[in-house]
Amino acid sequence: MAGRAEFSLQGRRSFYFALLLAPPLLWLGIVYLGSLFTLLLQSFYAIDEFTARIVPEFTLATYRQLLTRPAHIDIIVRTLLMAVAVTLASAVIAFPVALYMARYAGPRLKALFYVGVMLPMWTSYLVKVYAWRLILAKQGIASWGFEHLGLMGALDKALQVPVVGGPSLASSYIGMFVVFVYMWLPFMILPLAAALERVPASLLQASADLGARPGQTFRNVVLPLALPGLAAGSIFTFSLTLGDYIIPSVVGAPGYFIGMMVYQQQGTAGNLPLAAAFSVVPIVLIGLYLMLARRLGAFDAL
């Protein structure tokens, strides 16, 4: 009897549990994963060259096209390099800020820092991108600042560097890089600060107590324990850069990025299979990145 009662109680509990979980799981399954799956499916469909109609026939032709045309390879490499550069720069800039927020700032200053980091995220993304185009323009406030600091020569030198340079900051990869870093920096600072805040003060004291100088404590204790936060932040900056199409189309040199290609192929060009194949690229790259991060032990301290 007792066993039965227990069983039915268990049964009822798991029923309620299922009831509670069903809506979010359906949402996640259908809206997120379902659409992603149909997108992936599209990349294997053929397209009629003449009528531009999609034929639901399995083919690898799109991927062959994606991976053999030099122009497409250029786009992938360009986007990947930008994502790597933006991620590295974000990490370097974010680390001291996050460390100060998490370990040194008093409660009021810390709150101020959090607001300061998040406030820019509350304004429109488009407004910020266009504002940056004006800031970086040839007659913009950035070059005015360089001029008044007597650094115009340095700016001109930087803009003369082949590939990354250009006629002005607003129309060079350097400018695009600056805007990307500006946009995604909060996504690096916040997880990093959270990870650093979780490191108990006693671990740092223990390290010093055992004879480690501040630099050694940083290398041996702080940095390894911040790695999960760094990994989380870098996934944001990396994947956001890989997928973005607005920043490269508003600021920077005319070269195409993956996001722009997806936008163009599924819109004006009407080549949905190629757009789908292009959008698979960031997924694969992020998957590889996660594997690498795991291999390097970024999640060991979790």
Partner: protein
């Protein structure tokens, strides 16, 4: 002999709260020293100052005769076992233990050898490859000990070393710590709020209250000769009798303390031995503890004395219940006079 640790008029305040109020203290080399007190009494602040995690507002701290008041922790030949052990979660047990050698630039092979020897010393020889989270509380405690001892410090500081362990493990570790200290001959300074721990392990105990040292003595002296009401009631349990009540009981205007086990209960009609202080009272309650019973006896309007008596004495304790009238007696020299 140069003292291992010396604090001279050390003061530390946090805002308006004075954590340590002009404390002076000398600890001899090889001593097992306890800083005992309730929370907020200044004992942990004292330990942190010795370790170098905090600097005093005024006063001087000397280690082995050398002024280290402003020396950072990494440059002091002192190591600490933290209350939460503070083991590095991203390192194995062996890497944790070898950390002190690693930051001193000792070669990997030598590090591994010494770490293994240290782990053997704390009987964790087979656990070097594990991660701290795979160990029990007692094992972590021993890893923390091994890690702190690998640098061969002059002084080992222990912050509530047994606080996080259960009772049985705590008793085992008490004996283990004491044995380890005797074998290594290192000065051990430990912070505790548990008077039993302080009495059983330490050679000398400093009792802290409100940022000051109330009394500094051997455990035996502390227990038998408490100097203040605070020490009498904090170290073991004692009846603290204030001046007015003392006037009534003994006829002398001097506060005193008396341990419950030193008070005799007289059988009805039994005369007190010569020179004993006597008084009469009414039993408030009786708590049976197995080997002994603990009674509270109201001897005066404002005074209740705790009395402990062995069950084997056959003194008729079994018959005592709430409301019974009894007579109490104690030797005058067992009553310890208190200051103030």
């Amino acid at each position: 002999m140069t003292p291992a640790i010396e604090l001279r008029a050390t003061r530390r305040a946090f805002g308006s709260v004075v954590a340590l109020d002009s404390v002076s203290l000398t600890i001899a080399p090889g001593e097992f020293f306890a800083l005992l007190g309730p929370s907020g009494s200044g004992k942990t602040t004292c330990l942190r100052l010795i370790a170098g995690f905090d600097q005093p507002d005024s006063g001087t701290i000397l280690l082995d005769g050398e002024d280290v008041t402003n020396t950072p922790p990494f440059a002091r030949n002192v190591n600490t076992v933290f209350q939460d052990y503070a083991l590095f979660p991203h390192m194995t047990v062996a890497e944790n233990v070898a950390y002190g050698l690693r930051v001193r630039g000792i070669a990997a092979a030598e590090r591994a050898k010494q770490a293994a020897a240290m782990l053997d010393l704390v009987r964790l020889g087979d656990f070097g490859a594990r991660r701290p989270h795979q160990l029990s509380g007692g094992q972590r405690q021993r890893v923390a000990l091994a890690r702190a001892l690998i640098n061969r410090p002059q002084v080992l500081l222990l912050d509530e070393p047994l606080g996080a362990l259960d009772l049985k493990l705590r008793e085992e570790m008490q004996a283990e710590l004491k044995g380890l200290q005797q074998r290594l001959g290192i000065t051990f300074v430990f912070v505790t709020h548990d008077q039993g721990e302080a009495l059983s392990m330490a050679d000398r105990v400093a009792v802290f209250s409100q940022g000051r040292i109330e009394q500094l003595d051997t455990p035996r002296e502390l227990y038998n000769r408490p100097q203040t009401a605070f020490v009498a009631s904090f170290v073991g349990s004692a009846n603290v009798v204030g001046r007015e009540a003392a006037q009534v009981l003994t006829g002398r205007d001097l506060a005193f303390a008396i341990r419950p086990e030193l008070i005799d209960i007289l059988a009805s009609g039994e005369p007190a031995a010569d020179g004993y202080v006597q008084c009469a009272g009414e039993v408030v309650d009786v708590l049976y503890h197995g080997a002994s019973s603990r009674l509270r006896v109201k001897v005066d309007e404002h005074t209740t004395l705790a009395v402990a008596c062995a069950e084997t004495a056959g003194s008729g304790v079994a018959g005592l219940t709430t409301g019974t009238r009894v007579r109490l007696a104690w030797r005058p020299e067992h009553a310890v006079q208190l200051q103030g």
